[in-house]
């Protein structure tokens, strides 16, 4: 099986300029494709269009069958919304069993809720649940109908950090078995859940590839920045250009590939230190630019440091901020 979408649609909001979504992607059976992009890049509109909620030009096919002419209820998709979208007037069990009338082979709501860790809530009403609980119920509702394709729209975005991490772990289990398209602006979530990643910007897919492709070999500075790489114009950093032995251009260097030590190729000055969960994120000024590195070394702002930059550094194919 493969699921293929190639859609084009224009959205008019009151007063605002019309927004165009014009994007294509393909997902193999069992694969999870993550659509990664900043707020306002059209990720959600793309996903909703694929689901059939908005009219559009172009083609959506499932196993070669055209589904883009059929209404949403005939498409055999599951959908998980950012803000849960549980039916407030139905109990948790009724929510999960909602599709029973329309699908012969629905999964047992109680078992499914148990598996997702919310088995004790079956008779509660959604407005009385926490965000994390509601999203687990919403996930169960979508899984219950055994959809051919699961569509997930930033299901973790409205949750706080510990809840988000716990649900992300469970989502990783769930998505290992199903064909899924998952929309997020969070690169850690994308890397944790994706078999492949499509980076989206301004209504268009600008790069598709494995997580490694996208994180290590971004096509453009835009993708590099959004996936957390240092983006360095070698003209601004002669000492890095010398170290990587490259002619010039804009390179993407992952912060974790740079080591900070007692000696190295490149001399810099510590500008900022942010304590993160695993280690410190340190901003180092080098020539006319700055780069971020991770280190556990005790440092203070203003310290001089040596950096070692890998010499097989990735040169972005294009400089343009938004081109594909």
């Amino acid at each position: 099986m493969s699921f293929h979408a190639d859609v084009s649609a224009t959205f008019d909001a009151d007063g605002a300029e019309p927004f165009h979504v014009d994007a294509a992607f393909e997902v193999e059976r069992g694969e999870s494709l993550v659509i990664l992009g900043p707020s306002g890049s059209g990720k959600t509109l793309l996903l909703e269009t694929v689901a059939g909620f908005h009219s559009h030009d172009g083609l959506v096919t499932l196993d070669g069958q055209r589904v883009s002419g059929t209404p949403p209820e005939k498409r055999d998709f599951g959908f998980v919304f950012q803000d849960y979208a549980l039916f407030p007037h139905m109990t948790v069990r009724e929510n999960v069993a909602f599709g029973r009338k329309y699908h012969d082979d629905i999964r047992d709501p109680d078992t499914l809720l148990d598996e997702l860790g919310v088995g004790g809530l079956t008779n509660r009403y959604p407005p009385t649940l926490s965000g994390g609980e509601q999203q687990r119920v919403a996930l169960a509702r979508a899984l219950a109908v055994r959809p051919e394709v699961m569509l997930l729209d930033e299901p973790l975005a409205a949750l706080d950090v510990p809840t988000r991490q716990a649900l992300r772990d469970d989502l990783a289990d769930v998505l290992s078995d199903v064909t899924a398209v998952y929309v997020t602006h969070n690169r850690t979530t994308a890397r944790a859940l994706a078999d492949r990643i499509a980076v989206m910007n301004d209504g268009q897919v600008v790069q598709v590839g494995t997580p490694e492709d996208v994180f290590e070999r971004p096509d453009s500075p835009l993708v590099a920045r959004f996936t957390g790489s240092n983006v360095v114009d070698l003209d601004d950093a002669p000492s890095i250009r010398e170290a990587v032995d490259s002619g010039g251009g804009v390179v993407a260097i992952r912060p974790e590939s740079i080591t900070l030590g007692d000696d190295g190729d490149v001399r810099g000055t510590v500008e900022r230190i942010v304590r993160e969960d695993a280690t410190n994120r340190v901003t180092v000024a080098v020539d006319e630019t700055t780069v971020e590195v991770f280190t556990d070394r005790p440092l203070a702002v203003g310290d001089g440091v040596w950096l070692t930059v890998p010499d097989d550094v990735h040169v972005c194919r294009t400089h343009a901020a938004t081109s594909a």
């Binding site: 909703e48 059939g52 909620f53 498409r75 998709f77 959908f79 549980l86 039916f87 509702r141 109908v145």
Partner: protein
Amino acid sequence: HRDSFIVAAATLGSVLMVALGLPLFLFVARQQPAIVVEKAFNPDVHRMLYLGIYGPFLAALASLIFGIPLAYLFAEGFAGQQLVESLVDLPLVVPHSVAGIIILFGFGSGGAFPNVSVLGSMIGMILAMTFVSAPYAVNATREAFESIDDRLEYASRIHGASRWDTFRRVTAPLAVRGIVTGGVLAWARAVSEFGAVAVVAYSVSFFYPPAGGEVTAQHAPVFVYGTYLQGGLAESGAVAFILLAVSAVIFLLIR
């Protein structure tokens, strides 16, 4: 000093409260019990009350049956919607006596349906009431539909429900309070209508169960006006008092 703004607002607001509340208070306080009791036992008043509740009920029912689908379409949005919306809101701004005249032009003699008699008939009265009250049913219902998150309907559709089932299982249950509100507003508007009914159907014949047959009566506001013209302020006040009391009881029952 720091609440001078609130004090000023409350002072100005109180003037309006007095303008609305004082007449009502004096209206109740200045009733003459003897006249009220006499009117309370008057069979003409009973017929007026029956007609004044029953007629508006039929008008509200018609407003809902035909207004809910229109409200749903408004909430969904369609091409040319603005024009249709203006048409629905028109009865809100048309002077009430003019509304009656418009209905006579449309459905009276020489109008669209020559075989239907609207002048002085029950059908005419219901038509006049529906004309002025349907916008209330449509607007309240539409607001209820619009306040439902689109994603709830998306969730219903994507997990297998057709539009029909989505309406039945999700949209309608979530909008039911707004629909009831719309019905009550339409009913109340029909109860209060004077001008359009006075023009189209000053007196009507209708089946009155206590009498076991047809009787003739006027819609309540028309009856009150007639009593004022013939009997003066005290008598019409007593009738109005009874009408308001009955309306208030019905209103509390619905709540």
